[in-house]
Symmetry: C3
Subunit: 155 residues, 3 copies
Amino acid sequence: MTTLADTVEALTRRVQALEDELAIHRLIVSYGLAVDAGDAEAASETFDVDGVYDVAVGTMRGRGAVAAMVRGAKHQSMVGRCAHQIGPAVVDVHGDTATAVGYSRVYLATDGTVGLYRVSTNRWHLERRAGRWIVVRRITRLLGREDTLMPLAGS
Amino acid sequence: MTTLADTVEALTRRVQALEDELAIHRLIVSYGLAVDAGDAEAASETFDVDGVYDVAVGTMRGRGAVAAMVRGAKHQSMVGRCAHQIGPAVVDVHGDTATAVGYSRVYLATDGTVGLYRVSTNRWHLERRAGRWIVVRRITRLLGREDTLMPLAGS
Amino acid sequence: MTTLADTVEALTRRVQALEDELAIHRLIVSYGLAVDAGDAEAASETFDVDGVYDVAVGTMRGRGAVAAMVRGAKHQSMVGRCAHQIGPAVVDVHGDTATAVGYSRVYLATDGTVGLYRVSTNRWHLERRAGRWIVVRRITRLLGREDTLMPLAGS
């Protein structure tokens, strides 16, 4: 027989799953907002201390490497002119680990004209640490390359 | 007087509504990921067996027709170069049926340059079948045509 | 000791927070669907009666001003050819007030070709009124201008 306590326990698990899904969407989107604002600390803190960002331009290992990229001359020259827009993505949570698979686009304004700069496929591997979701590995590949489908595989 | 059991029952309905909304977002987004990966089975299974995909290029009736389009030479020539990005959309659930209204965009990489290929308005009609949401009809129209607003009507 | 009633009360607050977040996403997205359909009433009703829409082209004060823009010749000439796509955004709820920070893009079809017309940063300030979320102030800035980052500040 299902008691009211059992029902509430099952409901608690369902609410947790919904919170996890929304938290992960928020986390991956907030990376884009942070880099566009030039905020190296906020951007790098969406990653685990040892998190890996494996992207077309090279692989960044650890928060320090992500922060250095944001603080670098190339990125800083784009702040105010770039928009890193993330999603749509599909999030899949398994206990304290999760994956998200989806797209990202970068827009760039140059001489008053805005254009599409990059479109990429992405796979994020996430873990829950002390109740907070964090990216342990993000794999990003440009559209139209040999390895474009790699982040989508297994989705 | 509201008993604790009543409160839990009301809460269960609210949690179900949240789960439905997120499941539908996930479903419509996953169609794009599947076609971009060239996965005819996964793409067609977002539709009901008799589901209809009424799109500018023609109307596909049933999963077989959707799968055939994905397996077709035209689509296969774009796999790895195309990104079908779906949303933002507004989901409206009524019991075991739902609609979603929103945008889709297709990006295409050609000779190393990525561009916007199509922007469309969409209306998805969905049904819950054995606890799983499924598309029974998707109506998609290109921007800037006589029938562009048709999928938005009633939204 | 935590009673079952306490647990249910805590769960109710978590469900409310999830509903708020999804309702706000739906509201800000629905503005775009409404203006694209040329529906001045639906678009203006996403704002409070005295709501402010502070956007690059000028500041609209009150629902009447938003509705007048939608009914205006310039906007009406774009209906059926424009798509106002909103998000991704990050929503932050505090009781009966909330903010959302994120991107919007406008696409425009001209002579059968669709292009990116505008990319903007946005901050929405929202309030819950009689159980319904409403925009009290939306600040929108174009990418690549001096004030682009202003809506992102504090995010």
